[in-house]
Amino acid sequence: MAFMDAIAAVGGSCEKDVILTTSPRLSADAVKTLIKMTSEKFGVENIVHRTDDGMIGGFTLRCGGVFYDMSVATQLSCLRESLDAAFEEEER
């Protein structure tokens, strides 16, 4: 459900192909559901699906020159940056 909420939360519109990238560990059913939701959201039929092991989990969407990154790898990276900043502030 969290994925569906995330898709629903994505703003903007697409005029060209949409590229949906997920982790290879995601089940086939979950991928189908994601593709369907994405197609309905952006009104685009042709959705290209790719997998990327480096994402760990979550998904990314590329469409119309905008990149939506909901991958777990990126979120962990952002969390690390936030913690690094907090550590530095602690040291000061």
Binding site: R62, V66, F67, Y68, D69
Partner: protein, 510 residues
């Protein structure tokens, strides 16, 4: 989670996962380190661009539907169709006080095998200080090279060009100046642009062996680096210098050399399809160097009182200082030190052509001691050069002309200095006091040249208080001048200088 403070726990608990949204572009062309990207609007000139493959580039061309990005590293991981995104930041260099003693590349990555972390990020391109923030150059920057300190004096905050053909000692003058700043409170930056890695390694070794790395750091972009890195190098070095200048420090920056910098910029411009101008350089090649060198300044007390002294180096071909890039930089700087191949091959090293070398700051940046002893040197050398033409034809010369030629030869001999053998102010003052008082007139030229090190040692051992007072105050009074003269006369008489001359005269008469 043992040891993590409450603050950090709160950070973790309050962190909310949000999608990262950014515009992306697509690579539509890659060639010779230049990447054309479509669809990435809203970028600024000089912005860092991230490629999917992890490579980084810098925006150097902005067009309506596409941008031109130059790769910072020679990267073959970038291909057509790759996704790129803007970083939102222009090129920066991370800086901290710990950069002193280090060797880094133009984006702050360490090249000396040890980790380096800069805490302050400064953009490579920064505006030059405005008029109101500056003050006149009034403090000397001693190079330790007697020919320069006496006739082409450099002040802190000045831009003095070092120009000459290849292998005439340009880098040697710059490195000797850096070495001479030991203990003088001047932080030095050596920026190597497009040099061979072996040459840069030799320079770094020389700086290390002489202890100069304690007040110096090196920014390197060697010949194997991309043109974009070579283009960035001097700007990064200048930003690093400004980091210290803004703290009130005096900084010396050597750009070695700007000819290669201009060539790297020409390469980038041609690859970006900009219209070539004279000698195929782009139309803004003057601005390339003027905006860099204008950042060298002497700041007012209100702005911290720091300074950046710039020693750009330009290589000429066949002594042609009227070429495009040399004339550009000569018009930007506050003077030039011109090194001549002919002088170099005749053993006059440093091969400074005093006729064509000038310092526009001049005697305002000379210590009082040097002003007193260097007033007539240029005229003496100019007359010597004129008269030496007659001597070459073997014409009979009157005694006055012979004496003039003899003094000119001795003065030229005084200016010969070995690589790395810099003089203190007191030593330079002593040498020139002897000349101005005519104490060397009875001494053969070759003999004088051989005995200079011994004479200086004699002075340091026997009149140490006078020498250290000159070094401390930068000036001397009549009593100290007399003490210097007496000591020089004593040395020459003890070491048989005049007798040698009589012997030489006897040999000539035979």
């Amino acid at each position: 989670m043992i040891g993590i403070s409450e603050h950090i726990k709160k950070q973790i608990e309050s962190y909310s996962f949000k999608p990262l949204v950014y515009r992306y572009g697509t690579v539509t062309g890659v060639s010779d380190g230049v990447v054309w990207v479509d669809g990435l609007s809203g970028r600024v000139f000089g912005e860092l661009i991230e490629f999917d493959s992890g490579a980084y580039g810098m925006v150097m061309e902005l067009m309506e539907n596409r941008i031109g990005v130059v790769l910072l590293d020679s990267d073959d991981r970038v291909g057509i169709g790759d996704v790129v995104r803007g970083s939102g930041i222009v090129c920066e260099i991370p800086l901290s006080d710990g950069i002193i003693g280090r060797v880094v590349d133009p984006v702050g990555r360490p090249l000396d095998g040890r980790p380096y972390e800069g805490k302050v990020l400064m953009p490579c391109e920064r505006p030059a200080p405005d008029l109101v923030s500056r003050r006149s150059v009034d403090t000397p920057l001693e190079t330790g090279i007697i020919a320069v300190d006496s006739m082409v004096p450099i002040g802190r905050g000045q831009r003095e060009l070092i120009v000459g053909d290849r292998q005439t000692g340009k880098t040697t003058i710059a490195v000797d100046t850096i070495i001479n700043q030991k203990g003088k409170g001047v932080i030095c930056v050596y920026c190597a642009i497009g040099q061979k890695a072996s040459t840069v390694a030799n320079v770094i070794n020389r700086l290390r062996e002489s202890g100069a790395m304690e007040h110096t750091f090196v920014v390197v972009s060697s010949a194997s680096d991309s043109p974009a890195m070579q283009y960035l190098a001097p700007y990064s070095a200048c930003s690093a210098a400004e980091y210290f200048m803004d703290k009130g420090c005096d900084v010396l920056v050597v750009y070695d050399d700007l000819s290669k910098h201009a060539v790297a910029y020409r390469t980038l411009s041609l690859l970006l399809h900009r219209a070539p101008g004279r000698e195929a350089y782009p139309g803004d090649v003057f601005y390339l160097h003027s905006r860099l060198l204008e950042r060298a300044a002497c700041m007012s007390k209100e702005k911290g009182g720091g300074s950046i002294t710039a020693l750009p180096i330009i290589e000429t071909m066949d002594g042609n200082i009227s070429a495009y890039i040399p004339t550009n930089v000569i018009s930007i700087t506050d003077g030039q030190i011109y090194l001549e191949s002919e002088l170099f091959h005749n053993g006059v090293r440093p091969a400074v052509n005093t006729g064509l070398s000038v310092s526009r700051v001049g005697r305002a940046a000379q210590p009082g001691a040097m002003k007193k002893v260097s007033g007539s040197l240029r005229i003496a050398l100019a007359r010597y050069r004129e008269m030496s033409v007659f001597a070459r034809f073997g014409a009979d010369l009157d005694p006055a002309t012979k004496a003039l030629l003899d003094r000119g030869e001795k003065l030229t001999g005084l200016f010969v200095q070995k690589n790395g053998n810099t003089y203190s102010l007191s030593e330079e003052t002593a040498l020139l006091t002897g000349f101005s008082k005519g104490l060397y007139d009875a001494v053969p030229t070759e003999y004088l040249r051989e005995k200079i090190p011994d004479m200086l040692k004699y002075l340091r051992d026997n009149i140490a208080p006078v020498m250290s007072e000159i070094d401390r105050t930068g000036d001397f009074d009549a009593h100290m001048e007399q003490t210097l003269s007496n000591a020089i006369e004593e040395f020459l008489s003890q070491n048989g200088g005049a007798e040698n001359n009589k012997e030489a005269d006897k040999e000539t008469d035979k």
